[in-house]
């Protein structure tokens, strides 16, 4: 084994286990505080939207969740690729641990999008380009998780998942742009969900707070899950 290389010291699950626990606890506390602050700003400080009224406030959850959902897929593919290239078990574990959190945020983005769509568009679901891309992203996450769940051998599951994640991450931009083109072909002008006229600085602050909170939550949840995986495979 390549224990001679110092860099890999942290890549050993045994040394990483306690460290992950500490980081997860700190991140969880930070996430809770930031969510409280973000929601407070979002619900009480930010001004009411002139056109959409109070309904727009779902943006404080919807937009950061959508950001995280896409970002986490890239992070997952990154760790998967590292695991495949350098044969480091911990990287592969990170990839498997990120997937459920990514899928959760994708689902939250879809759910809040539907709740937001009802009063603004009069319907829960519109084949809007962003919503459709999110839906396909959810399928990609679920495919990754289903593949790993179907394989009993941990090593094969890690490596097969990695190939799928890499193929997926190459495809995500292609899917995104093709869906956007498809959207313009089929329904001319649609109301974009992220169209926020005259974004007040407090609104931006609320969104950033929530985004940061989701970041910390993702770190906490991922590391907690990595600890479970390490224990399972020990």
């Amino acid at each position: 084994m390549s224990t001679a290389i110092r860099w890999f010291w942290f890549a050993s699950p045994q040394t990483f286990y306690p460290l992950a626990g500490a980081i997860a606890r700190v991140s969880a506390v930070g996430a809770a505080l930031l969510v409280a602050a973000g929601l407070y700003v979002g619900f009480f400080v930010a001004p009411t939207d002139a056109q959409q009224g109070e309904v727009y406030r779902v943006i404080f959850i919807h937009v950061p969740a959508a950001w995280m959902s896409m970002f986490l897929y890239v992070v997952m593919a990154f760790w998967a690729a590292i695991g495949l290239a350098f044969n480091t078990r911990l990287s592969a574990m990170m990839a498997s641990a990120i997937a459920p959190t990514g899928a959760l945020f994708t689902f939250v983005a879809l759910w809040t999008g539907a709740l937001w769509g009802r009063p603004t568009w009069g319907t829960y679901w519109v084949w809007d380009a962003r919503l459709t891309s999110e839906l396909i992203l959810l399928f990609l996450y679920l495919g990754f998780m289903a593949l790993q769940a179907a394989i009993d051998d941990a090593r094969r599951a890690d490596r097969a998942g990695a190939v799928l994640a890499i193929v997926g991450v190459v495809n995500v931009p292609i899917i995104y742009y093709s869906v956007q083109w498809w959207n313009t072909l089929h329904q001319g002008a649609s109301v974009s969900l992220t169209r926020a006229p005259s974004m007040a600085s407090t609104m931006l602050a609320g969104m950033l707070l929530m985004a940061l909170a989701f970041w910390l939550y993702s770190i906490a949840a991922t590391l907690a899950r990595v600890r479970c995986i390490i224990r399972e495979r020990a």
Partner: protein
């Protein structure tokens, strides 16, 4: 290397010729799926004309996926896959040859029979050319992407359904561009952009997918 690719191509084609039922099943599936839609949505001619490109493309997607599930399964079962893995030619080249052989017996017939389905849907004659061309460019892409999924799910329980879950989301761009190109023509516009993008997808997938297939095969046979 060329010899190995040619041998694989000839081998797979010969096997299909001696057992033509398998290839015919996927084709029949395509025809049946496409014939079900009018029964579901009604036979109103304008509606059928409008949904035809999408229906034909979705049916092609499903048929391609269905036949891919067996792409490596037989080789895996009788041990020839091990010999391919230990062959003197790079596994990526061998994989590409297998995908090509599979496309010749499952994708190409689809392209050939699509006008018949288009006839059922009363598609305007000037759309036939674009439909056939889009299928000609798009179905090999489906083969390359699908083969990655087939290699990853090799030998797993419920591999068929899992393959659908893995591969169908990745088929989305091909579906959008393929069906979109036909709709462009029916809207009186040039489909060049979509067809060029499909061609680009074909080139990119032909260049990179074989290596992903090879990696997936090595992982699945461990």
């Amino acid at each position: 290397m060329i010899a190995a690719a040619r041998t694989i191509l000839a081998r797979d084609l010969r096997i299909v010729l001696r057992r033509p039922g398998d290839a015919a099943t996927a084709l029949l599936f395509f025809v049946i799926v496409a014939s079900l839609f009018p029964l579901g949505v009604g036979a109103e001619p304008n509606l059928l004309r409008a949904v035809a490109p999408g229906v034909i493309w979705v049916a092609a997607l499903l048929a391609s996926m269905l036949s891919l599930a067996r792409l490596f399964a037989a080789d895996h079962a009788d041990g020839t896959l091990e010999q391919l893995l230990l062959g003197s030619a790079p596994l990526g080249v061998v994989s590409a040859a297998k995908v090509l052989a599979h496309w010749l017996v499952s994708g190409l017939p689809l392209v050939a029979i699509a006008p018949l389905i288009a006839l059922q849907y009363d598609l305007a004659p000037e759309l036939y050319g674009t439909l056939a061309l889009s299928l000609l460019l798009g179905t090999p892409v489906l083969g390359f992407i699908g083969a990655i999924g087939a290699a990853l799910t090799l030998g797993l329980r419920g591999a068929g359904v899992l393959l659908a879950l893995l591969v169908l989301p990745l088929y989305v761009p091909v579906l959008i561009l393929g069906a979109g190109s036909v709709e462009m023509v029916s809207a009186g516009l040039a489909p060049d952009g979509q067809l060029l993008l499909l061609a680009a997808l074909l080139v990119v997938s032909a260049a990179f997918a074989p290596w992903a297939i090879a990696a997936a095969l090595r992982i699945s046979t461990e």
